[in-house]
Symmetry: C2
Amino acid sequence: MSESQPVRGEFELIERYFTRPVPAGSTHVRLGVGDDCALLAGVPGEEWAVSTDMLVEGVHFLSDVDPESLGHKSLAVNLSDLAACGATPRCYFLAIALPRIDEAWLAAFVSGQSLLADSHHCLLAGGDTTRSASGVTITVTVMGTVPQGQALLRSGARPGDEVWVSGTLGAAALGLAFRRGDVRLSGPDADRMIARLERPLPRVALGERLRGIATSAIDVSDGLVGDLGHILVRSGVGAVIEWPKVPIDDALRSQQEPVQRRLALTGGDDYELLFTAPPERRQDVLAAGAATDLTCIGTVLPTGGLVVVDGQGRRVDTGAAFDHFRR
Amino acid sequence: MSESQPVRGEFELIERYFTRPVPAGSTHVRLGVGDDCALLAGVPGEEWAVSTDMLVEGVHFLSDVDPESLGHKSLAVNLSDLAACGATPRCYFLAIALPRIDEAWLAAFVSGQSLLADSHHCLLAGGDTTRSASGVTITVTVMGTVPQGQALLRSGARPGDEVWVSGTLGAAALGLAFRRGDVRLSGPDADRMIARLERPLPRVALGERLRGIATSAIDVSDGLVGDLGHILVRSGVGAVIEWPKVPIDDALRSQQEPVQRRLALTGGDDYELLFTAPPERRQDVLAAGAATDLTCIGTVLPTGGLVVVDGQGRRVDTGAAFDHFRR
């Protein structure tokens, strides 16, 4: 079949857009797209880390979304879960429901997704394509590996640990607020914040380097307060966060203080890593950061839930965590 | 939180319906629901087999579907892919988009899914729940294991092999035709055919026992002609199928001959196993079948695509394979 002809159905769609050969010498993927199952190696001394995320049109993105950005983001949010476990990406599975076959849209979607996948040597190993009754729905299941027993979990934070975060928080939420017309931004600031919203860069390398150093980790997908809350619950500890230390972009700093606080503390979609480490590992943490800005924003306490304080030690209202069913 | 209170959001939903402890002594699942990733063992000498399938309201099921059957079927179609590879189910990941939280619906869905999962010792190891803009969408990713190098693939059929199928074909399609008012059935026949449509039983044990015996295998999800076609293309061979040997239920045999042929040859959703094996392994095949009816329906040829013949050796028209984008 020539590349210029339109695809005629599900099987040709898979053949043209979703079938790529398994590279010779692939250590982890033995068989990719094209059979009933993909086959992955069981490597002694390693564990597979698996995560799945679903993106729904009208909930997570709008129908006029740039398909290349959507392809990128649908994989990025999953790679971010691997990063939060300190896992090395190996392969992913894509299930996608489409109301119709729009080849230009699909080519752009696949291009955005493949570019990110290739940069992490993460192979498309299988999937499912189907028609949808309305709107696009995407489920990506991503798989990576960690040396046995070295995965970063939510449950390991200990009193006295420092709380760290990568990059800046609230940027994606600021991009979304700009999109909705709720805030004003200069052109360059707007572009940067929208890129943070649409093309998040999962902190994969940082996650890998934090193995053996961080005592717990999570990626900031639902907002700092909510995601740190998950660590605290799982670890059975409390924490105090110093609001003036929370790293935010200059574009967010130009907003009014309540907006800064709301977006940086409870805005979702940043996909930064939030983790804890003992104070005596501070140099190791900073070395693991390498080119990534890392900021210590607080301390783990034995109990007391999550408290955010201002520069004078006064408690700051934190609002509620993100919940898909409460919007 | 008491069981009688309504759930208040995504996290409580996951806590109440989707979080079950990993059984002590689980050999393959090290960490289940509740962290950024699930963790699975890399067992030396084993491969992981992975498959993903998406079910969309309005395409694969209607809004008035029985949620317990939907829970069952959404896992069954994936377990069937493992069966086709000869893999032993270990765990699955559920991503589900719901327009609203309907606890009675969810409880029934989870019940239907868990019952099937438990019968195969297949653990819910992770997932994602989200709101949908319209309709329910379900993606299940299932993972099983096979001894290294022993997975049944589509690519191993050799000229001279016999073509086998388990159970009967066309039953699910007959159930669907009855549902649509296209055919008449007696009450017991209708119940049986609808059960085949809504509660298919994946041939997991058969798939496991066919390891080392079958040269190729696939599950019949898109219809005999289409699915055997996948084996032939992948294996680079042809085949002749003798229509009178194709096993069909008495309920289908009571229909007119063209209906019998159409449903048994091209009807989807049966989830029987279709496989090839050398004639000298016939006794091993039948022993692997154990309590499952197995029927030899044809022979693999060196070339010539797929030909279906009647009792007089005349070519039978086979219609087209199932395709989600062509309905």
